[in-house]
């Protein structure tokens, strides 16, 4: 007959091991519950760690990309409203030139008044063309100066280069419209020269005004196409932003799936482990106490 001999010490050892194991499991579930995270160290799940680190990097990049996009939208919004009000002024100037050229009955005084108003409009347009966004002239390209156009001569003093923002991995969108792009025609004529000429012609050579009007129309259509182009890019950034938000939400969900504890399951596990632990405590208390001594008299 070969039965396993069981000694007190074996029982003590196995009870201790069982209690330790139970405590260990309880501690792990407790750690998960109190941190709310399934992965507290890379070894908890190496593949999960890889995934979590990747998603976290992507989330950080997405956050920054949407900040870039917000910055781009505010820059472009300002450019858009400035161009709109400049177009209004240009229409007013067009009316004035039309008025000066169409009626032969206008006396020199009336022409002078029209010329003065044109000069005023030109000045106000110059002011608008130097509009700043966070300290930078929005039509000045990459210039480090404060102005896009010289306030008196109306000459472009900015740097005719693009300003771009990255709004998604690998998607860089141009956000600015430079002065020459918005206010100069292909022939090199620009808004401020045209308006200056118009004011001069109004008093000196009214017959030349119809030619000036054509030039102004060309400039205005250039401005409109710049506005349309800007609108298209604005739309692109907006759609990129909304897809960023979707992606961000998805990534948050995935991160939470990988990293976070399923509370219901963890609580259930905790309950079960608690029961098991209590059972082994109870068993230990019962098994270790009695010995033959209790029954020998």
């Amino acid at each position: 007959m070969s039965t396993l001999r069981v000694t007190q010490r074996m029982m003590v050892n196995s009870s201790l091991t069982a209690l330790q194991l139970g405590m260990g499991r309880l501690a792990q579930t407790q750690e998960q519950l109190s941190t709310g995270r399934l992965i507290n160290k890379p070894s908890d799940s190496p593949t999960g760690t890889n995934e979590a680190m990747r998603i976290r990097a992507q989330l950080a990049a997405d956050t920054q990309h949407s900040r870039n996009a917000q910055d781009a939208l505010s820059w472009m919004g300002q450019t858009d409203s400035t161009l709109q009000s400049m177009l209004d002024d240009v229409h007013r100037a067009r009316d004035l030139i039309l008025q000066g050229s169409s009626t032969g009955s206008n006396g020199p005084d009336a022409r002078n008044a029209l010329a003065t108003e044109l000069t005023q409009i030109r000045k106000s347009l110059l002011g608008l063309a130097n509009t700043q966004h966070l300290g930078r002239p929005i039509f000045g390209g990459t210039t480090g100066g404060t102005d896009a156009y010289d306030k008196t001569t109306g000459v472009f003093v900015g740097e005719d280069f693009g300003v771009s923002r990255t709004v998604k991995d690998g998607v860089s969108v141009r956000i600015n419209v430079t002065g020459p792009e918005a206010f100069s025609t292909a022939s090199g004529d620009d808004l401020f020269t045209v308006l200056g000429d118009a004011a001069t012609n109004m008093t000196s050579d009214p017959t030349a005004l119809s030619g000036t009007l054509d030039r102004l129309d060309a400039v205005a259509s250039q401005m409109k196409s710049a506005l349309a182009d800007l609108g298209t890019r604005y739309g692109r950034i907006q759609s990129a932003t909304s897809s960023l938000q979707d992606a961000s939400l998805n990534n948050q969900n995935r991160l939470s799936e990988v990293e976070n504890v399923d509370i219901a399951k963890a609580v259930l596990d905790l309950q079960m482990q608690q029961v098991a632990y209590q059972a082994s405590l109870g068993a230990t208390a019962r098994v270790l106490q009695p010995s033959l001594m209790d029954f020998l008299r």
Binding site: S14, D44, T49, H65
Partner: protein
């Protein structure tokens, strides 16, 4: 026929035998909780007819009583050897698992506060500069984030190095312990030999011997050979550590700092030849010192060198606020030597050359680079795999070791209940022998005092 008084001597032998049995049982009970104690059993033997019959005479006795022929130590040398092997494997894995998981907690991954968090902030810093190239605050913030990244990397390198130094100190202590234990075992071998020659009970010495060899196995994974005279020879990595009375000390040399490990590796030697152990605590410490920790630092250095190359290459393509080409952004190529070289915020080369003063194309491009993030991620994941596998192996090995220990305990452990039963049996035996004595005495009384009274 045996003599008249033979029954008396038979009863006496029973009294003696049962006294011995009670001594052994009480000795076992006394040592029920002693580490390394193997229970003893008394082997009784009936004394009777001589084993070699003599010519012209025959033995007519019915039994001459009992004697305690020997006292056995209940051990199985095979189980002992098995136990030493499993304990060595267990301590190897446990030591590695403890050290690696301690270091692992300092990584702070996955999370927002580790190197990957600092790297993401650093990248975002470039985009902030790209959004406001003329703003000194954005540039200053970028430099601050670069320094934070550098500090996180340096901190992690420091953690590796601290763990390495801890293990190095531990190795010193372990080698000291091995030498002490080996020298104790040498003296014990001598005592065993003497006891063996003198024929005295060597049970306690044998308990000590088994304990010392188990300890040596846990420390070094030593192989133990038991000789015919109960002494043991111990070999570590093929070299004799203890042979008879002589113990050869191990010695340790080499770097006392992780930075010197590559040029002057830590070397353990025994009897003049270098040892690389793959078992026991010393084996674990050697693996940590020579592989796990330096490998991690190498991986970290690889990531840093990738980071520095990417950043400096891109930075050189740009020009700073003054229009000068970008200089090195970082210096150093290892985790410990990494430094942020740029201190002046305006020296950050955010612009592409010839694109205007406030161009930010270069900063924008920098923000889109990986900056070694995949290298770092695979380093951390790889390390996580190592730790998880060592922990799993250690868990399995612990179960195996516990089983072998349990088998050993099953054979050698003292069971109080059993000893009580032995004690009771011996008590009853003693009582019985006493009764025999009384009976014979009364019989003799009848014979001596009441016989031959006829006619008195």
């Amino acid at each position: 026929m045996s003599g008249t008084f033979s029954s008396l001597s038979t009863a006496l032998s029973a009294l003696r035998y049962n006294r011995v049995a009670m001594d052994v049982a009480s000795g076992n009970i006394a040592n029920a909780g002693t580490d390394g104690y193997a229970r003893r059993t008394v082997i009784g033997q009936a004394t009777g007819a001589p084993s070699t019959p003599a010519l012209w005479s025959r033995w007519e006795g019915a039994g001459d009583g009992v004697e305690a022929s020997r006292i056995d130590r209940m051990v199985d040398p095979l189980l002992d050897a098995r136990s030493r092997t499993e304990h060595a494997a267990s301590s190897y894995l446990d030591t590695r698992a403890a050290s690696l998981s301690r270091f692992e907690t300092t990584l702070g991954e996955p999370g927002d506060n580790g190197i990957s968090g600092a790297l993401a902030d650093f990248k975002a810093g470039w985009y902030d500069v790209a959004n406001n190239p003329g703003d000194p605050a954005a540039r200053t913030q970028l430099l601050a984030r670069a320094r934070t990244l550098q500090a996180s990397i340096a901190q992690q390198a420091q953690s590796v190095s601290t763990e390495w130094s801890d293990q190095r100190t531990r190795l010193d202590a372990l080698v000291e312990q091995v030498n002490q234990t080996a020298s104790d075992l040498g003296s014990l071998n001598k005592a065993l030999r003497v006891a063996n020659l003198a024929g005295t009970d060597a049970g306690t010495l044998l308990d000590q011997r088994d304990q010392l060899t188990l300890k040596l196995a846990e420390l070094t994974g030593a192989k133990v050979t038991v000789n015919a005279d109960t002494t043991v020879d111990v070999k570590v990595g093929g070299q004799a550590l203890v042979s008879g009375n002589t113990a050869t000390p191990m010695s340790l040399s080499g770097a006392s700092d992780l930075s010197a490990q590559a040029s002057n590796p830590v070397t353990l030697s025994l009897g003049g030849s270098p040892l690389t152990l793959s078992s026991g605590e010393i084996g674990a410490t050697q693996t940590l010192l020579g592989q796990n920790l330096p490998d991690y630092l190498d991986g970290l250095d690889g990531f840093v060198s990738q980071l520095v190359t990417e950043v400096n290459t891109q930075h050189a393509k740009g020009v700073d606020l003054g229009g000068n080409p970008g200089t090195d952004f970082f210096t150093g190529t290892t985790a410990t030597s990494l430094q942020v070289a740029i201190t002046d915020p305006s020296a950050v080369a955010a612009a592409a050359p010839g694109q205007g003063a406030l161009d930010a194309t270069n900063a924008d491009a920098m923000g889109g680079l990986d900056l070694g993030a995949p290298d770092y991620r695979s380093l951390v994941t790889g390390f996580g795999v190592t730790v998880a596998s060592v922990q799993r192996l250690a868990g399995n090995q612990d179960v195996l070791t516990a089983q072998v220990d349990s088998s050993r305990e099953s054979l050698s452990g003292v069971s109080i209940d059993e000893e009580m039963v032995h004690l009771l049996a011996a008590q009853r035996g003693y009582e019985g022998a006493a009764r025999v004595l009384t009976t014979v005495d009364s019989m003799l009384d009848t014979l001596i005092n009441r016989t031959g009274l006829v006619g008195r």
